[in-house]
């Protein structure tokens, strides 16, 4: 398949059947590559986020305490072009780079995670796992038709989807029916061929039916495969519900990676109006994000962001504790932590706070770009890093090879 075709059609679940057979063997050899995107939809307060001394992460209020500091790079001076009239809708473009998300007729394009999932996800039960805090019906994941893929937000449901027992009778019946339909179509082609029907037409159709059959086999495989057994360790702390939610979703992400249930997770940390409660602050996250440089408000916003960083810190540390191959799970997982906003208070889309952690790269700590650089350059680089031969992505200009090693 050429790159153009690949980008044009996308592939729902690309799968060479033989990879199923190789799967077990391969698993023991090289650990799989995984990617996770985390979008903090209200940004990070810039003064606390970026290192005050260039290159020294310990001079950042938020990053100083990160235990896996030597396995991450903070990028400064990345921006999203084409967002001039955009507000909170810019979240829609975080992983797509599509311009003017605020326009009434905006249609999105495929998001980076979905493109990567087509490549990384074929051998797992869930090619991708989009998550969010709230139930808004959309997050950062968009399909090849530019339609939102609704993220999952209910922890129990996510746990059951990943590890729980399901009644699969209906799904299995559906697959059986479809396989019977495919057999019927083969028989129909046989009898038509015997009557001398158009050969080129039949040939082109047979190829597709063949691919469809493989797809059904793939689905059947996963329906019959046992789900991994995982203890439910979800927290039920309701005092700090917001905090609990983030903690739980990150815990589920860790378990999903660890059991190789998916290799692509996108966590949209979205917001709604109304007060939230974190240690040391109660109030509207959105209201606080429009701090207008009021010290009192910044203080409260900082409490929320510190809380978020605390969970991210634990998540990265946990991944790094899990041995895998010659390294750790973190070494095989590229974790991108970022936001659609540079300065959420003024709704700007430049100097986007961006961290790349793990992934086995030779990390640089702090990379300050000389001039404003489209975030999509980094998106493009991530595609290339995962062997996807894309010429461009979103607003990308070029692959700048910002990741080393």
């Amino acid at each position: 398949m050429t790159r153009k075709e690949f980008l044009k059609f996308g592939t729902a679940l690309p799968l060479a059947l033989h990879s199923l057979n190789l799967r077990a063997a391969e698993k023991s050899k090289t650990p799989p590559k995984r990617v996770m995107f985390i979008c903090n939809s209200l940004g990070f307060y810039e003064t606390n986020f970026f290192p005050k001394t260039r290159g020294d992460l310990s001079t950042s209020t938020y990053l100083d305490g990160i235990k896996t500091r030597d396995k991450m790079t903070v990028f400064q001076n990345l921006f999203h072009p084409g967002m001039s009239t955009s507000n909170h809708d810019s979240e829609k473009s975080f992983l797509t780079g599509a311009p003017n998300p605020e326009a009434a007729s905006f249609t999105n394009t495929i998001s980076l995670d979905q493109l990567l999932a087509q490549h990384l996800g074929g051998d797992t039960r869930y090619p991708s796992l989009p998550l969010s805090i709230y139930d808004r019906g959309w997050g950062c994941s968009w399909n090849s038709r530019g339609a939102a893929i609704p993220p999952m937000h209910d922890e129990t449901l996510i746990f059951n989807t990943l590890f729980g027992e399901e009644d699969l009778a209906a799904k299995k019946q559906q697959i059986t029916n479809d396989q019977n339909v495919v057999r019927c179509l083969y028989r129909d082609m046989q009898q038509l061929k015997a009557r001398g029907a158009g050969a080129s037409k039949l040939d082109s159709y047979r190829t597709i039916i063949h691919e469809l059959e493989a797809q059904l086999k793939h689905e059947e495989f996963w329906l019959n495969a046992k789900k991994p057994v995982v203890n439910n360790t979800l927290s039920a702390d309701s005092e700090f519900a917001f905090s609990t939610k983030i903690k739980n979703l990150l815990e589920l992400s860790k378990q999903a990676f660890q059991t190789d249930s998916t290799r692509m997770i996108t966590f949209t940390m979205d917001w709604i109006n109304g007060a939230i409660n974190v240690p040391g602050a109660t109030g509207g996250w959105h209201s606080f994000s429009h701090h207008g440089n009021q010290p009192g408000t910044i203080e409260k916003l900082t409490r929320i962001e510190v809380d978020i960083m605390k969970h991210l810190n634990k998540f990265l540390f946990d991944l790094d504790q899990i041995k895998e191959g010659d390294g750790t799970l973190l070494d095989n997982t590229t974790v991108v932590i970022g936001s659609n906003f540079g300065d959420a208070s003024n709704h700007t889309h430049n100097n986007l706070p961006t961290i790349i952690a793990g992934g086995g790269y030779r990390h640089q700590g702090h990379t300050v770009l000389k001039k404003p650089t489209p975030l999509c350059n980094l998106h493009l680089e991530l595609l290339h890093r995962h062997n996807i031969d894309a010429g461009s992505f979103g607003s990308s200009e070029q692959d700048m090879r910002l990741l080393k090693g």
Partner: protein, 773 residues
């Protein structure tokens, strides 16, 4: 003569000399010499084109020469003209020179054709088109034979078929019809909730837009459709206020969303026009899914941001009823299981409909369905695979309806259904399938089947049948599809006019603009009016919203109707329709080049070569000191630019009188500086710029404005008609007409404009498209 001799000598050494057409070739070359060589020789090379040299080398674009000749562009009007016979010989020779391209002998049906066909076969009405990927790529026509069926597409059809079958014959039965009433709205953002105020027993809505300019919808409380299906929404509502026009009550559906003061897009279900009447019940039938909430937005320019007083749209209550079915048991059972015992319990409770029947009945269900879907009688052997898959299921599970669903899924996944032409018993069945697909985007009806069974679809009966199919409501699908493809109205929603420059543009107008175009074309066909109406007309199909946009007075209410224009109106015809004017811009500025090229190619019917590579693009820049026209006039400086741009720029100039929303203007608007977050305001963010100059020169004839230009175009209706014929041919067959086909199409065009009528043209071209050899 020496020149000709030279050419003939050269040709003698190549393949042409051996062809049986050498007699024709000699004649053609004589005519070229007589009519063309004076200007297009190696010395004069008019328009940078040396015909002698090109013929000599055998290196020429026969289709370009052909088009220039057939549309009368060449020889130019003031030069000596070939007689009709001479022209025909030239065309015939050029047609022979066309490089043979054999399009695929088959094509896949489009997602639109799939959904309409399956709906008609199942007697359901559920639009799943948007769930199936658009596989058209960059091709203009959905039917293009170069598009291949892919696994992704087949998977999508698999899923869509499941959903449609499940909608028709739900495994878990039918939800009882329920009715619920609501008169309160859900909490909305503090900035807006003041514009829905309590009044009498209900709510009074004023008009306002959210700060990003979108309509702010108020969501009804206690609203959750239990299952997906059709619902009747009855609004007890009245217009309040002493002004002549109606208030529009826009009914949206979407996910309730309170988080933001910037509402997420809802989809517009229906518009209710509230006139000068007492409180009245207005019922609309809409399709809803669980999780979708109904919201309203009441538009009237007279009630902008009123938070007190007694003006606005008063809605006492909303009564919702559903899911509703036109008949019980639903028509899908009566159609698919006709003649079998259908047991349908009363709808008062959750209802399981069952069909009790056995093997032979299943065979007849499958046979009836497959013969309609494949448009052919089928032998026992042909039916066997489909029978078998259904009967196996029946045997294993004993559920007749469930088993039939599996068989039907196989039928609509078959290449006999998805790839056309299928395998047909006789040619009449093939023609019947083609006709139904072109006009209804669907499968043949019973009458077409009967005619085909007698193999009686011939040139005589075909025209009668075409007229019948055109008169049926389903032909609206063809009009919509044609407008989407030919006039690119499918991109209409992709262009969103800047609310800084065009603050009055709104969702209601956006909804009606393409409806005007579709209604107008339907009207031209229905009343068999002259093809010249594509260029100009003294009427259009408008409503209150469109009339206000066009500055036409006295049109009250949102019902579409025929409205006459004043004699001095610039409107009339396709070029000056808001939809076309909007879709040919980027939503901010208009480009006379892009718009001109589009109109020139698609409506006027000029043949344009693609723009050359490596040229500097002229981007109209209103901030420059030079006028737009001076900037575009750069084209005149170079002969090679001018040869094409003289057929592009004039249309663009004349249409400069219309802004990116299609509204009349005499002055440009220039955006004013605007920092920080965009906040909608009714006066926009612009200042007045330079005056519009809509004059120009078309082939030596000067014009001052669009009206003059239309007059110039009306002189020759054949080019417009010929272009329309070619488009219709390609729409219907999935490949562009060959030059020989084009000669035939051109022959169909009556010489007098008043004799060249739209319905006749459609019927003649479609007859030709589907029966040509």
């Amino acid at each position: 003569m020496s020149r000709l001799l030279l050419i003939l000598l050269t040709f003698a050494t190549n393949v042409y000399a051996a062809s049986p057409s050498s007699g024709l070739e000699q004649i053609a070359h004589q005519h070229f010499e007589t009519y063309c060589f004076d200007c297009h020789d190696s010395d004069t090379k008019k328009g940078d084109f040396d015909l002698i040299g090109s013929l000599d080398k055998g290196d020429f674009d026969s289709s370009l020469l052909f088009e220039n000749l057939i549309t009368g562009k060449m020889p130019p009007a003031k030069k000596k003209q070939p007689s009709p016979e001479e022209r025909r010989s030239l065309l015939a020779w050029l047609a022979q020179q066309q490089v043979e391209s054999t399009p695929n002998s088959f094509r896949r049906i489009s997602r639109h054709e799939f959904v309409h066909s399956v709906n008609d076969l199942l007697d359901t009405n559920i639009d799943l088109t948007n769930q199936i990927p658009e596989d058209r790529g960059t091709y203009t026509f959905d039917s293009d034979r170069r598009i291949q069926l892919t696994k992704e597409q087949l998977m999508a059809y698999f899923t869509a078929a499941d959903e449609m079958l499940e909608f028709a014959f739900p495994a878990n039965g039918f939800h009882p019809e329920t009715t619920w009433v609501t008169s309160s709205i859900k909490e909305s953002h503090e900035t807006y909730r003041i514009y829905a105020r309590e009044h009498k027993d209900g709510l009074l809505f004023s008009w306002m837009r959210s700060n990003n300019g979108r309509p702010y919808p108020f969501f009804y409380d206690h609203f959750n459709p239990p299952v997906k299906g059709w619902y009747d929404l009855t609004f007890d509502a009245a217009k309040m206020g002493e002004f002549p026009d109606d208030i529009s009550l826009m009914v949206f559906a979407g996910k309730y969303f309170y988080a933001d003061d910037r509402p997420q897009p809802q989809h517009l279900l229906k518009v209710i026009s509230l006139g000068n009447e007492e409180l009245k019940s207005h019922t609309v039938r809409v399709f809803l899914k669980p999780g979708e909430n109904v919201s309203v937005h009441c538009y009237s320019k007279h009630t902008w941001k009123q938070d007190k007083g007694e003006q606005g749209a008063y809605i006492e209550k909303l009564t919702a009823r559903g899911p509703v079915f036109e008949s019980w048991p639903p028509k899908s059972y009566q159609t698919v299981f006709a003649g079998l015992p259908i047991e349908a319990p009363d709808r008062g409770a959750h209802a399981h409909i069952t069909v009790t029947a056995q093997t032979e009945a299943m065979r007849s269900v499958i046979k009836r369905f497959a013969e309609r879907a494949f448009s052919s009688p089928l032998s026992e052997a042909e039916l066997k695979p489909y029978d078998q898959v259904a009967l196996d299921h029946l045997q294993a599970h004993g559920d007749f309806v469930a088993a039939a669903k599996v068989g039907i899924k196989a039928i609509v996944s078959s290449h006999r259904f998805l790839l056309v032409p299928g395998e047909h018993r006789n040619d009449s069945f093939r023609v019947a399938a083609d006709l139904a697909r072109s006009l209804w985007l669907s499968v043949p009806d019973q009458r077409l089947h009967e005619l085909a069974a007698r193999n009686a679809l011939n040139s005589a009966t075909l025209k009668i049948e075409l007229a019948r199919l055109l008169a049926a409501p389903k032909s609206k699908r063809m009009i919509g599809s044609l407008c989407a493809q030919w006039l690119n109205l499918r991109s209409h929603d992709n262009v969103s006019p800047s609310l800084k420059l065009y603050p009055t543009y709104n969702d209601l107008l956006n909804h009606y603009l393409p409806i005007e175009t579709k209604s107008y074309i339907a009207h031209l066909i229905e009343h068999n009016l002259s093809v010249s109406h594509l260029i100009d007309s003294d009427f259009s199909i408008l409503n209150q919203q469109l009339a206000q946009h066009y500055g036409v007075d006295g049109v009250i209410g949102q019902k579409m109707r025929k409205v006459s224009f004043e004699p001095d109106s610039p409107r009339g015809g396709l070029m000056t329709m808001g939809s076309v004017l909007k879709v040919t811009t980027d939503g901010f500025d208009t480009s006379p080049i892009l718009r001109g090229a589009w109109v020139s190619r698609n409506i006027v019917g000029n043949t344009l070569s693609p723009p050359p590579e490596n040229i500097e693009v002229i981007e109209p820049d209103l901030s420059k000191a030079t006028t737009l026209k001076e900037q575009v006039a750069e084209h005149k400086k170079s002969k090679s630019c001018l040869s094409c741009h003289k057929s592009i720029d004039p249309y663009g100039f004349a249409l400069e009188s219309f802004d990116a929303t299609g509204q009349w203007r005499t002055q440009y608007r220039v955006k004013t500086e605007h920092h920080a977050t965009f906040q909608y305001r009714p006066e926009g963010f612009f200042k007045r710029g330079s005056q519009v100059d809509a004059s120009g020169d078309l082939g030596g004839s000067k014009f001052d404005n669009i009206a003059d230009l239309k007059d110039l175009l009306l002189v020759d209706h054949t080019k417009v008609a010929y272009n329309f014929a070619k488009i219709l041919f390609e729409y219907a067959t999935g490949s562009a007409p060959s030059l020989e086909h084009r000669m035939d199409l051109h022959e169909m065009i009556p010489t007098k404009a008043e004799d060249c009528r739209m319905r006749d043209l459609v019927i003649n071209v479609l007859t030709y498209s589907h029966t040509r050899k």
